[in-house]
Amino acid sequence: MDGDFLLLHRMQNGDDQAIESFVRKYYPKIMRYCHLHIKDSGFTEDLTQETFARFFRTLHQYQHYGKAANYLYVIAGNLCRDYYRKPEELPMEELPEHPVCLMESLDLRMDVHMALEHLPQELREVTILYFFQEVRQKEIARILGISLPLVKYRIKRAKELLTIYLGKENFE
């Protein structure tokens, strides 16, 4: 039994405090996830809000098998998917002014974002979950509904491409 189990049980019984704790716990993760998909920071907040709204709309049907975060990622991923249909170049002024990124340097940060943008969609999804959100490979397979070997292959391929894009010798 994980920490979310009791929290979810309390939420399903309509405990306001539990709902607040849950949102506060996962809000940054989901916002970061949406932010990596969506360039517009204002829209990122809207998507994050909608992710939680959708989650709570289906809470009475929700069955806790593993991590609630995985289900949130699935919802957020679906919401972000529409955005993929409208590819556009990332204007420099829109690079994360907010949310604030604490990376090594602005240049490197921009490089990583640009590299991420150039990855094929299926590799980008895995990259965001694995490298940025630090989700385990097995859980990524569950979130995306693909097999574990395919996740491993995509991570490997993403590493290769990112190595090329970032001009690094060894990505490990």
């Binding site: 607040e20 506060r24 970061r32 994050t48 709570f56 709309r57 949310p99 604030v100 604490l102 990583v112």
Partner: protein, 244 residues
């Protein structure tokens, strides 16, 4: 290298507060619509089930009671019970398969309740009614002093369970979308079972632990099939969309 991907977001407190408020509102508005209790939901679903198949099952068991009461040997009782098990399941087949046969899954998927809830309710109803019918049957058969619990388990429940396994496995199958094929498999199984129980030498060669193992395996597999079906109900939808 991990530091390259590590970045935090600064979340606006007012946005978090708004998200909390929206979440509570979404939860409460959805909860207010969930006014139907489990029993009410079962009652609703019961109205969609044709009761004539249950009546047929009841009549079959009554007829079997009559037959075993008038049968002279244990061999005949065994044969009757062995054939009744699969037939008892086959009678409810059209009702269990109705949703797939009529391509109703896509329609049901757009309804208020999930396909999973609908199937769970229907299977629960089938299980309750069958349990009641079989309990009544066993009570009467015992009163007639013709069937022991052991015979009931090995001669009736085992072929019954295996037929249920075939039914549910094919019902929740991605590849098989034919009630006729599923029925054919059940009939083949009934035939194979008859050959087995009618051969006294083979029948006697099967020891008690073997019967227990077979029964346990059939119960386990039926449970697994139902569990798998409930978990993977979405994949059934992908098999044969109406628009293709």
């Amino acid at each position: 290298m991990k530091a390259l991907f590590r970045f935090d977001v600064i979340c606006d407190e007012s946005k978090i507060q708004k998200t909390i408020a929206v979440s509570k509102e979404a939860f409460l508005s959805e909860e207010s619509e969930q006014t139907v209790s489990h029993i009410e939901f079962l009652y609703q679903q019961c109205k969609f089930i044709k009761k004539r198949w249950w009546l047929m099952q009841g009549l079959l068991l009554a007829f079997v009671c009559f037959l075993i009461n008038n049968s002279e040997t244990d061999f005949t009782v065994r044969r009757i019970l062995g054939l009744t098990g699969p037939l008892f399941v086959i009678l409810i087949y059209p009702e269990i398969w109705k949703n797939r046969s009529y391509d109703a899954l896509e329609i049901e998927c757009t309804t208020f309740y999930t396909l999973r809830s609908i199937y769970a309710a229907r299977l629960t109803l089938f299980a309750w009614v069958d349990m009641a019918l079989l309990s009544a049957f066993y009570t009467v058969a015992t009163l007639l002093s013709r069937v022991t619990l052991w015979e009931m388990l090995t001669q009736f429940m085992l072929p019954f369970n295996v037929t249920c396994c075939i039914c549910f496995r094919t019902l929740y199958s991605k590849r098989i979308n034919s009630q006729a094929l599923s029925l054919l498999l059940c009939v083949l199984w009934a035939g194979a079972w008859s050959v087995l129980v009618l051969n006294d030498a083979v029948f006697r060669a099967i020891s008690v632990p073997a019967w227990v193992s077979l029964l346990a395996a059939s119960v386990f597999f039926m449970g697994y099939t139902l569990y798998r079906g409930q978990r993977k109900w979405q994949t059934i939808m992908e098999v044969k969309p109406l628009w293709i």
